[in-house]
Symmetry: C2
Subunit: 324 residues, 2 copies
Amino acid sequence: MASIEDVAKRAGVSIATVSRVLNGTGYVSESTEIKVLKAIRELGYVPHFSAKSLARKKSFKVGVIISKRIDELLKTNVGEFYKIILDAIENYAALYKISLEIVLLEDVLKTSEVEFDGFIIVGSDASEEEINFLSSKAKVVLVDHYIDGLRIDSIVSDGYDGVFYVTRNFIDAGYNRIVHIHGPLKYYGFRDRYNGYVSAMQRYGKLPILFEYDDLHDEVDSVLKRVLRDWVPQVIICSNDVIALRVLSKLKEWGYKIPNEISVVGFDDIPDAEKEGLSTLRVQKAEMGINAVKRLNEILTGQSLHPHKQCLYTSYIKRNSSLI
Amino acid sequence: MASIEDVAKRAGVSIATVSRVLNGTGYVSESTEIKVLKAIRELGYVPHFSAKSLARKKSFKVGVIISKRIDELLKTNVGEFYKIILDAIENYAALYKISLEIVLLEDVLKTSEVEFDGFIIVGSDASEEEINFLSSKAKVVLVDHYIDGLRIDSIVSDGYDGVFYVTRNFIDAGYNRIVHIHGPLKYYGFRDRYNGYVSAMQRYGKLPILFEYDDLHDEVDSVLKRVLRDWVPQVIICSNDVIALRVLSKLKEWGYKIPNEISVVGFDDIPDAEKEGLSTLRVQKAEMGINAVKRLNEILTGQSLHPHKQCLYTSYIKRNSSLI
């Protein structure tokens, strides 16, 4: 059976270079990478990735970072979204013998001595500067967060894809008056879903009709009055379930027949969405947590070549708040 | 040591359900998934992912699909981009004992009997209908291609992120007259890079200045005359290296000093970019191929829960065609 030495010899490179190609640590030029991969193929060499990672003695220590805001949310049912992600991280880390500690963003930024091998930052409160600071201390994977041009590994739900999908489904079924109520566009998640709606409407020659609503500061009455001022929409697609549930309850209070007059769709699939019969795009919350652990483990064990953003597609869950 | 039976018992579910959670095959509700992961953690159960995939007897047969257009390109130096991806797929598949066959898109669509376990579709020529047809026959992973709302696994380069990054770098360095020459926006890749440029310009309060250029049908003279009509830009960011190299050569022919008067930046990092000293955003071509094989193997061996899009960040390679 071929050894790593045989591969190095045939490719005309050092063993260290073969190891860099296999483990993705450090820079290797494209032409060298191809030479090494070719030698591996010709010799039928099988690297022992698995043996290596299972047998490894060292147990990694990872800080799971949440903001004070999320820590507060976790005490309410709005925080269920993050609870599922955190549970999945905790449960899955055990498979990789990773020891976890949950730390507050505000605290870890103040600490000068960092004893972690890696960080999983959950949620979108960390700023670009804060993420840069943390990634200078240890390997970082972001969950439900991405920052343009920063090139930090991220695991996000594909809001663009999901909202495009559901908007197009309504268009295909003959609906015309489809509006989007979105949260503040400074947040990546809201912006991504907004782009999915706009893109689907434009692709099919329809004018996007948009309303901004900040669920922390605005009254749902006032935004809905604007939505309903000129005509009654057939479909209201909302940035998240919290907004959609408020819209749903207010429309019912005002006597609109749901879903016959107006279909309402959310995003996330929080537990209240199921309780209230809200149709929504389900974010794979547990899997976001699981994949963050997998990805950080790949990085810490040097099994990965290059940072990327992983966008998990959503699933459309039809309930009683919409006709399709 | 805990067994899969112990996990099933503790979680109060069947062994089949534990297996579904571990392998990601079939539907498992979020609450069940969490129960199973919790039991795994409490019992310290270690599943034998690796043993399973290494020891597996069956060798998968995968069709690597390219269009006739790409097959033609492979005979020229413009096809180098695809050649690197195809080489990486071929070399890396050997690690997983996957047997490959390169097939033409136009041929495989005509075949009624498909004997493949999976397809890797390279490039953006396959239409939505064609991809739907192929994914009804076998598992599909797209490379350098994504279709809105279709929810098929994709490996792409993150053009948005890369062009955002380089545009912002020029803005940060005090440049004002930054223009973008882009290919036809019906292609996902061009659209993605276009969005990165527009987003960076808007974020910093600048008006995006855009010129469309179809490298198959348009003369570079006519688009460059439009670009230069009112004033001389300081920076021209192009959709790909082919466009950038034509722009570079024409500007030099017309007597412009590169990079002192105008910086030119491409996208892809094809071999000619290095030869001509073109600054560009390097697409991790070999890694796109490698990750496509990894991902398809995950899907075929049932190790993955949910489809996603993987966006590999680009690297900026500064050469002589730009000041920064």
